[in-house]
């Protein structure tokens, strides 16, 4: 791990998040880095064509009996981080469910390869430090495309860094979870790419401007996950009179 003393890590985080760029009033997207973002988007798209998309084709052809344990293992290895974030968000119910899941799936579920917790209704309460920052009241910041990782925002990128550097799995996980967790997460990316092949192919390769579609889809879906209201500029109402229908009917 990158040896940054703990007190400086917190400082780094505060610096990153407080640098979040404020949006232009009235704009649908807060995207001052669009020019750079587009370059990174083109790079990420070429990575997808060369590696991720073909890998997704391979995983899609495998039986679920092969891919499910990998996905389960990766999801389970991410639970200690989700528990920590649940506590930081004061979401004790979510943290408790994820703790039970981790204990059950790590023991009865053979290190997390199986998911007995879901069959008794303990489904994963997905969360991350980006959400923790949102709960703490930090603004979303500008839209960012991150090399290899893809669409993000300034707030989510800061959250991502914290989740990477402060993952509690090392403290509570089995040696095998610590060792193979990252590999399983990469494999899970390929499985998901295969699962959502038509949606992602349509967005990346069939749209006239895949950058603007990816930005729109990421930002709106992320706000939905976090329970944040969409910006007023995206509100559509046929009676608002903001669109002239003359000639269309």
């Amino acid at each position: 791990m990158f040896p940054i003393p703990f007190r400086f890590r917190a400082l780094l985080l505060v610096t990153l998040v407080s640098a979040c760029t404020a949006p232009d009033p009235g704009a649908v997207f807060n995207d001052p880095y669009e020019e750079n973002n587009r370059v990174i988007h083109a790079f990420n798209k070429s990575l997808d064509s060369a590696f991720l998309r073909p890998s997704g084709g391979v995983t899609a052809s495998l039986p679920d009996g092969v891919t499910d344990p990998i996905v389960n293992f990766a999801d389970n290895a991410g639970l200690p981080g989700a528990v920590a974030n649940g506590v930081l968000q004061a979401n004790l119910e979510g943290a408790a469910i994820n703790t039970l899941r981790f204990v059950l799936n790590t023991t009865l579920g053979v290190g997390g390869l199986l998911d007995p917790a879901s069959s008794i209704g303990l489904t994963e309460q997905d969360t991350d430090f980006g959400e923790t920052l949102a709960v703490w009241g930090f603004d979303e910041g500008a839209y960012l495309e991150i090399p290899v990782y893809g669409p993000s925002t300034e707030r989510d990128a800061a959250g991502r860094l914290v989740d990477l550097f402060l993952d509690p799995l090392g403290a509570v996980g089995l040696p095998a979870q610590v060792k193979y967790g990252p590999l399983a997460r990469v494999a899970t990316l390929a499985v998901r790419r295969g699962d959502y092949k038509d949606t992602i192919d349509g967005l990346l390769y069939d749209s006239a401007d895949s950058y603007s579609q990816a930005r729109l889809v990421y930002l709106q879906n992320r706000r939905f996950e976090l329970g944040e209201a969409p910006p007023a500029a995206t509100e559509i109402d046929p009676f608002s009179g903001d669109v002239s229908l003359e000639g269309f009917e």
Binding site: V28, D64, D195, D198, T199, G202, S207, A208, D209, S212, Q213, L216, V217, Q220, N221, R222, R223, F224, E225, P230, T234, E235, I236, D237, P238, F239, S240, G241, V243, S244, L245, E246, G247, F248, E249
Partner: protein, 198 residues
């Protein structure tokens, strides 16, 4: 004498008042039950087409028919074209509205198979501004549940859909961005856009 003087403020107020009178006001005739029935009956028709086992092209023609009957086609087309539509002639606008319907039937119709064998669970219906939002969850085989909100209006005098929000993603907003990008790629030529959409 003063009361007859048209001050700037008075003219503005009068203009404002007449403008408000001209705006189409919601009739409040649309009920939650009507909106939910619309969702049920549209899904029933789509499932019927999927179950028919017809060829893909024939299914897409059927989906276009369903779209024409269930959607506010004029509003969808006008919104998707946005400001780019200002310079279009009425003939171009009507041709675009029809071509846009084909484009949507083709784009989304190809994906409806993913919903085969799934079911829609109603989560609640409420009035938002002047329309009705029907919140549902699509429970699909081998997939996480998908939240789909149907936005229903009675703007044309009958209940119709004018938007879908899938997992927070506003479809009409996404299509406006896409149509704008397609138009840019064709140097702003609406006729070329209409040709390529059909």
């Amino acid at each position: 004498m003063t009361e007859l003087t048209f001050t700037r403020r008075r003219v503005m107020t009068l203009g404002g008042a007449s403008l408000v009178a001209l705006l189409p006001l919601p009739s409040f005739a649309l009920t939650n039950a009507q909106a939910e029935n619309l969702v049920n009956s549209a899904i029933g028709e789509i499932n019927g087409v999927i179950a028919s086992g017809a060829s893909l092209n024939s299914m897409i023609r059927s989906f276009k028919g369903i779209f024409d009957r269930y959607a506010d086609t004029s509003y969808l087309a006008a919104y998707a074209l946005g400001n780019d539509g200002r310079s279009a002639t009425n003939a171009q606008k009507r041709a675009f509205a029809d071509a846009f319907g084909f484009y949507l039937a083709n784009k989304y119709g190809r994906r409806f198979n993913e919903f085969a064998g799934g079911r829609i669970q109603f989560e609640g219906t409420r009035a938002v501004n002047s329309y009705i939002e029907v919140r549902t969850t699509a429970v699909l085989r081998n997939q996480s549940p998908v939240r789909i909100d149907f936005h229903v209006t009675d703007r044309p005098g009958r209940p119709v859909f004018f938007n879908l929000i899938i997992e927070g993603i506003n479809m009409l907003l996404a299509e406006r961005a896409e149509i704008g990008a397609m138009l840019d790629a064709r140097g702003g030529n609406i006729d070329a856009l209409i040709r390529d959409l059909t």
